[in-house]
Subunit: 338 residues, 2 copies
DNA sequence: CCTGGCACTCAGCGGCGCAGAGTGCCAACA
DNA sequence: TGTTGGCACTCTGCGCCGCTGAGTGCCAGG
């Protein structure tokens, strides 16, 4: 049923609809794309596409609009990823190169992505679980109060206050700091629990409690998932699709503020490949008329976090995918340099 | 011209308009508020109020709507601050008490404020300039590479990487750390430059360059204003005033994303008293139909930062002001306990 | 200074009819 | 069997019209 020309018709419908935001009819199609067939033929093809659920009519005697299924087919088989122009690439690089620290890199990335795609941008902070330890510092703020500072290879810094059950001497603390660093610097977070398990035994009994407390606090910091922060920008772009307003925009804004929802959305696709989730494919009901384009990024070849954009299902997929991929690459590069 | 009854009429107009979101007429006024006079009299008063610019008609033969000037008068002379109910107070306290660290306190505050006022909440991170130093830590990551960690009394942690012109020995670094801490811990940031000015002289000439580099980096961190981060929440509440949509909401979303704009908005009122900025009083042109209610908060009696809400000029001022003030107090309390 | 009465104004709403775009179907043709 | 032109039909969107009702301003009387 789906011969070559029908796919071509679907592609044309998607392209036109994305451009004009209006249902597209058979006549307009044959005019704008040189399909080499008459409107009548296109009408037959459209009827078939509708039969199969790739397109739909908003009302009788209106043009056709792609369905989620139609967009899916378009993304999977009909559309490539449109590479950015080289001025665009240079602008990205230049913009990101100006960043002074991790927070700044992330902040700039969000702005960049929002501007480039003219949609809502979402960037997850580099996840702890894939990172390695660069340094651990312990500071005695009071005899039984220690501050733990953890520095990761992505430049992220986590700190935490610890109240120990018993005081920990200055020399013991220095000893613990040295032992900790020699064991875990450069290691994956997932390795750390194993590596520090027997550390308390090196200390005198009356200090073991305090040492254990410090270590368990360190481990907590490592696994803490609530710290999977993300940053969102470009929400003003939501106002661009101005049809039936409050109904469309409100649930999206609400979903965007629920970090949990967004994290699950980004996390859904394992691995770092580019993922497109279209309309009803999104679990969250507020996002059933939006699509999410996301991809992993990282300092090495492995992804440490994800970034992406949220926009209407009626979006320019090739262009958006190109921008998302390009930004992810450059961010990865910047992180690697650091 | 502005006798007691006319003020009463203005108050009634504001209250009704805020409640119904529709222009209010003379008849409805006399019915809902017992003004003890006839609609005709109220009409005369309304004409006078309009003459003076406190109210306006959207079109001839429609009811009246308060102007910015009318709201101003209402806020300054007619409305008190409505205290929260005690269940509300308990809910706030309970909600904020669950916070585990500074980030969490701020995040919870934003959510709370947005829910309580049903408007957009803005919370500024405790500002560095008013804070005192709790601890400074220096870590040698490499011979000529030092990480500076600054901990403030509000629990905030700033870190920064420093590349020194020459290597700094481990003992010198420990020395510098000790001297720094003994001099500046507990001091206001503004005092620090004076206190560390002569520190390099205590070191051997070949290390003075490195020491100076570290110190100037410390001072930079202290004055860095770009770090005046703020957190925004409840943007979905913007969709509540659903009239003439894209035009209203878009510039507001854009302004909210411009940290600079929002910081200036919050910063405009010096001191920590509650400030209400109405409509065109806001410098930013995207916010001319919104009002900003803000107040300082802090761990002591002095404000370290501000928080507030952004909403339509047509907002419940007494209620909003009550919520903002209450939240600021509780946040201050939480910070002080820490 | 307040009040009731009265004429006037205007936004909002529903009904009406038209124009235009688009469809489905059919018969003819390659 | 697939393609094409023709034709009748269906609807949305838009502008027009007139009505209703809320609200006003003004005036004369208390």
């Amino acid at each position: 049923m789906l011969n070559e020309r029908r796919l071509e018709v679907l592609r044309a419908i998607v392209q036109d609809y994305v451009g004009t935001e209006e249902p597209v009819g058979s006549k307009a199609l044959t005019e704008r794309h040189n399909l080499q067939v008459s409107p009548a033929t296109v009408r037959n093809d459209m009827a078939a596409l509708e039969e199969d659920g790739y397109i739909a009519q908003p009302h009788t005697s209106a043009g056709r609009v792609p369905t989620d299924k139609g967009y899916r087919l378009f993304v999977d088989r009909l559309a490539g990823v449109k590479p950015l122009s080289s001025p665009e690439r240079r602008a990205i690089q230049h913009f990101l190169d100006g960043a002074v620290d991790l927070d700044d890199v992330i902040a700039r990335t969000v702005r960049l992505l929002a501007q480039l795609t003219r949609q809502v941008a979402v960037v997850q902070y580099p996840s702890l679980s894939r990172s390695t330890v660069r340094h651990v510092e312990l500071l005695a703020l009071a005899p039984a109060r220690v501050m733990l500072v953890l520095i990761t290879d992505t430049g992220r810094v986590e700190q935490r206050m610890i109240d120990c059950p018993a005081p920990l001497g200055e020399t013991s603390l220095a000893d613990l700091r040295a032992r900790l660093n020699s064991r875990i610097v450069g290691q994956r977070f997932s390795e750390v629990p194993r590596l520090v398990a027997e550390l308390p035994e090196a200390f005198v009994p009356e200090e073991r409690g305090a040492v254990s407390t410090v270590l368990s606090s360190l481990l907590e910091t490592l696994v803490e998932e609530t710290e999977e922060r993300l940053v969102i920008g470009g929400t003003a772009n939501l106002t661009r699709f101005a049809t039936d307003f409050p109904l469309t925009i409100r649930p999206v804004l609400e979903a965007l503020e629920e970090q949990v929802v967004m994290l699950r959305l980004l996390g859904e696709a394992r691995g770092s490949e580019m993922t497109v989730s279209i309309g009803h494919e999104n679990a969250h009901e507020g996002l059933t008329s939006t699509s999410v384009v996301s991809v992993g990024y990282g300092s090495g070849d492995e992804a440490v976090a994800k970034l992406g954009v949220v926009g209407p299902t009626r979006m320019d997929y090739p262009g958006t995918m190109g921008a998302v991929r390009a930004v992810a690459r450059y961010v990865g590069q910047i992180l690697a340099e650091n």
